[in-house]
C-alpha cells in the first residue's frame, strides 16, 4: 500500500490509528498484535504473495537471534551462528534481487520471483539486529516486540532503516500505548508536509524525467540539463517526502524514528552529503560495514600512517570503495548502480584526501560556501544520472547530452518548457532557502538525533491558528493531488 493513496490515507490510516488506541485499553500485547496485524495488511495489500517471504524472514531471524543469545558462552559457535544468519539473509536477498540479473549477464534465463517489496530494507534491519545480538547490544526481546520492530509499517517498505536500540525500547514503554494528542498533531503535520512534497513537488517536476531519459541518445544540451536537474529534484522531494511521511506516521503512534534526510543539497562536501541523504542507510553502512572493515584493515596493518599515500589508499580508500560499491549494488542489479557507488566512493576518497592533506581550513566566505555547495551538487548530479538511467549506456548518453555532444541547442520556449523551468526555479528556492521539516518542527523533537537549527522563528512550527490553517490548505492540496501520483522512487529498492 502506498502512503500516497486514498486507500491508505482515508481507509487504512484512520482504522489503524483508531484500532491501535482502542486496543491500548486492553494492554500492550493486544495493541502490539494489532499493529503487527495492520502492518502485515499494509505489506500484503499490493501483493499478498510477498507476505510469506516477510514472515519467513522475521521468523528465521528471530530464531537466529535467540540462538545467538543461547550460545553466548561459546563465542566460536556464536560467531558461526551469526555468520550463518547473515549468509542466509544475503542469500535470500541475492536470490530475489540479483540472481536473474547475474545469470542473465551470462545468457542464462532465470525466472526470478517478483521482488518482494522492501526486502533490502527489512533484510538490512535484521542483519543489524543479529550483529547487535552478537555484540550484546540487543536485549532479549519477545517475538511480538521483534515482529513489531521489523514489520512496523511506517518504515517497512523504504526505511528509515531502524536500529533496535532506538526503537525497541520505545515499544516497551507504557507511554507508547497511550493516546497523545500532541504526538498526533506533530505526526499529522510532518505527514502532511511529506505528502505535499511527494504529490505536488516531486510528481510535478518529475513529469519530464521518464520520457527524457528514454530519449537520452538524442537530447541536446538544454534538454539534457532540464531532464537531469528535474530528476535530481524529483528524487530529492520524493525521498524527502517519503521520509517525512514515515516519520510522521510513526509519531502518530507515539514512536520517534531516526532522521533520514536533512537538506543534502545544501551540503558543502560529498562527505557531508552522505551524512544528510538517506541517513539511516549511511549509518547502517558505517556501523556494520565500513567501521568493521576499516578496523580489520587497521589491525592487520597497524604500522601504516594514514597520512602517507600508501596508508591512505589502504586505510581510507579501500574500505570506502568496498562500502560504496556495495551500497551502489544494494540499490539494484545493474552495472549503473555499481558505477554510481564507485563514483561516490571516488568523490568521498578525494574529499577525505583533501581533509587529510589540507594545509589551511577551508574559507568560510559566502562565495566559497556557494562554490563548495555547487561543486558538491554537480558531483551528486552526475551520480544521479547513473542512479536513474536504465543502463550505463543510457547514463553516458545523458551525460554526453549535458556536455553538448548531441548539440548545444537550448530548450524551446514552449509553454510546457517554461512551466518546467518555473517549477525548477521554485523548487530550487525551496531546497536552498527553506528549512527542512526537522528544522521546522525542531521544538517538538520530530525525530531521533540532533536537529540543527535552521528555521526562522516565524517558520518554526507551533500548534497555532496560522499553522493550522496553512496545514489545512496543504492537506487539501496533497489529498487532491494523490490521484495523479505514482509510487515512491525508493520502493524499487
Amino acid at each position: 500500500m502506498l502512503f500516497n493513496s486514498y486507500a491508505f490515507v482515508l481507509g487504512f490510516l484512520p482504522v489503524t490509528l483508531a484500532g491501535f488506541f482502542a486496543a491500548c485499553r486492553f494492554g500492550r500485547t493486544v495493541a502490539g498484535c494489532w499493529l503487527v496485524a495492520a502492518s502485515l495488511v499494509f505489506y500484503g495489500w499490493w501483493n499478498p504473495t510477498n507476505l510469506p517471504v516477510l514472515l519467513a524472514s522475521v521468523a528465521g531471524n528471530f530464531a537466529v537471534a535467540r540462538l545467538i543469545g543461547a550460545t553466548a558462552a561459546r563465542p566460536g559457535v556464536q560467531g558461526a551462528v551469526l555468520a550463518g544468519g547473515i549468509a542466509a539473509n544475503l542469500a535470500a536477498l541475492a536470490y530475489c534481487k540479483y540472481l536473474a540479473g547475474i545469470l542473465g549477464a551470462f545468457g542464462i534465463v532465470f525466472a526470478a520471483p517478483a521482488l518482494p517489496l522492501g526486502i533490502s530494507f527489512f533484510t538490512f534491519t535484521q542483519i543489524g539486529y543479529l550483529i547487535d545480538c552478537r555484540q550484546g547490544l540487543a536485549r532479549d526481546r519477545s517475538v511480538l516486540d521483534y515482529a513489531l520492530f521489523v514489520t512496523f509499517f511506517p518504515h517497512l517498505i523504504a526505511g528509515p532503516i531502524l536500529h533496535n536500540r532506538e526503537v525497541m525500547p520505545q515499544f516497551a514503554e507504557a507511554a507508547t500505548y497511550r493516546f497523545d494528542a500532541h504526538n498526533l498533531a506533530v505526526g499529522i503535520t510532518i505527514f502532511l508536509i511529506g505528502l505535499l512534497k511527494k504529490c505536488v513537488f516531486a510528481d510535478q517536476i518529475g513529469a519530464v524525467v521518464a520520457p527524457g531519459f528514454a530519449q537520452a541518445e538524442t537530447l541536446a544540451m538544454g534538454g539534457a540539463w532540464l531532464v537531469a536537474l528535474s530528476y535530481s529534484l524529483q528524487l530529492y522531494f520524493d525521498f524527502s517526502g517519503y521520509s517525512d511521511m514515515a516519520i510522521g506516521l510513526a509519531r502518530m503512534l507515539n514512536v520517534r524514528s531516526p532522521q533520514n534526510f536533512a537538506s543534502p543539497y545544501k551540503a558543502q562536501s560529498v562527505i557531508e552529503y552522505w551524512q544528510c541523504w538517506h541517513m539511516s542507510l549511511t549509518r547502517w553502512l558505517t556501523l556494520f560495514l565500513y567501521n568493521p572493515l576499516a578496523l580489520a584493515i587497521a589491525r592487520r596493518r597497524s604500522g601504516l600512517d594514514r597520512r602517507s599515500l600508501r596508508g591512505f589508499a589502504i586505510l581510507v580508500a579501500l574500505p570506502t570503495c568496498v562500502t560504496m560499491g556495495l551500497a551502489g549494488i544494494w540499490h539494484g542489479c545493474g552495472l549503473q548502480f555499481l558505477v554510481f557507488g564507485l563514483l561516490h566512493a571516488t568523490y568521498l576518497t578525494i574529499n577525505h584526501a583533501c581533509r587529510t592533506w589540507r594545509r589551511r581550513p577551508p574559507a568560510n566566505t559566502r562565495v566559497a560556501v556557494v562554490r563548495r555547495v555547487l561543486l558538491t551538487y554537480l558531483a551528486v548530479l552526475v551520480g544521479a544520472v547513473f542512479f536513474r538511467a536504465a543502463s550505463v549506456t543510457q547514463a553516458m548518453a545523458m551525460l554526453a547530452g549535458m556536455a553538448g555532444l548531441h548539440g548545444a541547442a537550448m530548450v524551446p520556449p514552449d509553454p510546457a518548457t517554461v512551466r518546467q523551468l518555473g517549477w525548477l526555479l521554485a523548487l530550487y528556492a525551496v531546497v536552498g532557502g527553506a528549512p527542512n521539516t526537522q528544522q521546522i518542527m525542531r521544538a517538538h523533537a520530530p525525530a531521533l538525533g540532533k536537529v540543527l537549527p535552521g528555521a526562522l522563528p516565524w517558520m518554526a512550527w507551533q500548534p497555532t491558528l496560522p499553522w493550522a490553517v496553512a496545514l489545512g490548505c496543504a492537506a487539501t492540496l496533497g489529498l487532491l493531488s494523490i490521484s495523479g501520483t505514482g509510487e515512491f522512487l525508493y520502493f524499487q529498492f
Binding site: 493513496s5 500548534p463 493531488s481 490521484s483
Partner: protein, 231 residues
C-alpha cells in the same frame, strides 16, 4: 492552542478548502481545463441549441479540422471532436435526431480503428461532460448487453470501478481535475478558452487545434500524465 483544537482547525480548514476547490472545479471548467475543452463545449452547446441546419458532421479530429461549414452551400454544423470515436459520433447523431428540426444528412468521418478501444473516452468524452449521465447509463447498458468491455480498456490504474469513476466525473470531483488545475494555475486558461469557444461557435463547430494550424500533434491532459502524440 491545544493539540486537539489545532487538529480540529486543520480538519475544518481542509474541509472548507476542499469544498471551495470543488465548487470552482464544478462551476468554472473553462478557467482551468485543457485547450481542447472549449471545442467540445461548443459542440455540446450547439447540440443543446438544436440549431444544427441541414447537415451535421460527426467523427474525429480530421473532420473537426478539415470540414468548414462556412464554405458549404447548406447550413452545416460540425460536431466532430478531437479524439472522437464511434461512441461520440453515435451520441452526437442521437441527440441531433432528437431535435425538433433534425438534420437531413450526416457526414461520418471514421476509420476502422475508431470502432475499437476508445482511448480517450474517459479523458475527454466523460471528463468534458460530452457523455452525460443518461448517455453514460445508456452506453453502459449497451456494453453489458453486448458483453463488450472495450470502454474500460486499457485498464486504468486509478483503482476505481467504471461506475464510480463515471459518478465522480459527473460530480466533477476535484481529485480528477487536479492536474489541469495545477497546470492552469487554477484560472489562467480562462481568457484563451473563452476565445476558443467563441471562435468554434462562430465557425459552427470547425476548429483548429490550439497547437497550430496543420499541426500533426494532439494534446491530451489527464491526471498525472501529459502526452503529446504524433499522428
Amino acid at each position: 492552542m491545544s493539540a486537539a483544537r489545532y487538529l480540529t482547525v486543520v480538519a475544518a480548514t481542509a474541509a472548507l478548502c476542499f469544498a471551495l476547490v470543488w465548487g470552482w472545479v464544478a462551476t468554472a471548467p473553462l478557467a482551468y481545463l485543457d485547450p481542447e475543452y472549449p471545442a467540445w463545449l461548443a459542440k455540446i452547446e450547439l447540440l443543446q441549441s438544436c440549431d444544427l441546419g441541414e447537415v451535421v458532421v460527426v467523427g474525429d479530429s480530421r473532420a473537426a479540422v478539415g470540414i468548414l461549414p462556412a464554405l458549404l452551400p447548406v447550413k452545416t454544423t460540425n460536431l466532430a471532436v478531437g479524439g472522437g470515436h464511434s461512441v461520440e459520433a453515435y451520441e452526437a447523431v442521437r441527440r441531433a435526431l432528437a431535435c425538433p428540426a433534425p438534420p437531413r444528412r450526416v457526414i461520418v468521418s471514421l476509420v476502422p480503428e475508431h470502432f475499437m478501444a476508445p482511448d480517450l473516452f474517459w479523458e475527454r468524452s466523460v471528463r468534458f461532460g460530452f457523455m452525460d449521465g443518461p448517455a453514460l447509463a445508456d452506453l453502459r447498458g449497451t456494453e453489458a448487453r453486448l458483453g463488450d468491455p472495450s470502454l474500460d480498456q486499457p485498464k486504468r490504474d486509478d483503482g476505481l470501478t467504471p461506475a464510480v469513476r463515471a459518478t465522480l466525473f459527473r460530480w466533477r470531483f476535484p481529485t480528477l481535475y487536479v492536474d489541469s488545475l495545477l497546470k492552469s494555475g487554477g484560472f489562467l486558461r480562462l481568457a484563451q478558452n473563452r476565445r476558443t469557444l467563441a471562435a468554434v461557435l462562430a465557425a459552427r463547430g470547425q476548429y483548429f487545434w490550439f497547437l497550430a494550424i496543420s499541426s500533426g500533434s494532439k494534446y491530451i491532459e489527464l491526471a498525472g500524465d501529459e502526452v503529446d502524440h504524433r499522428l
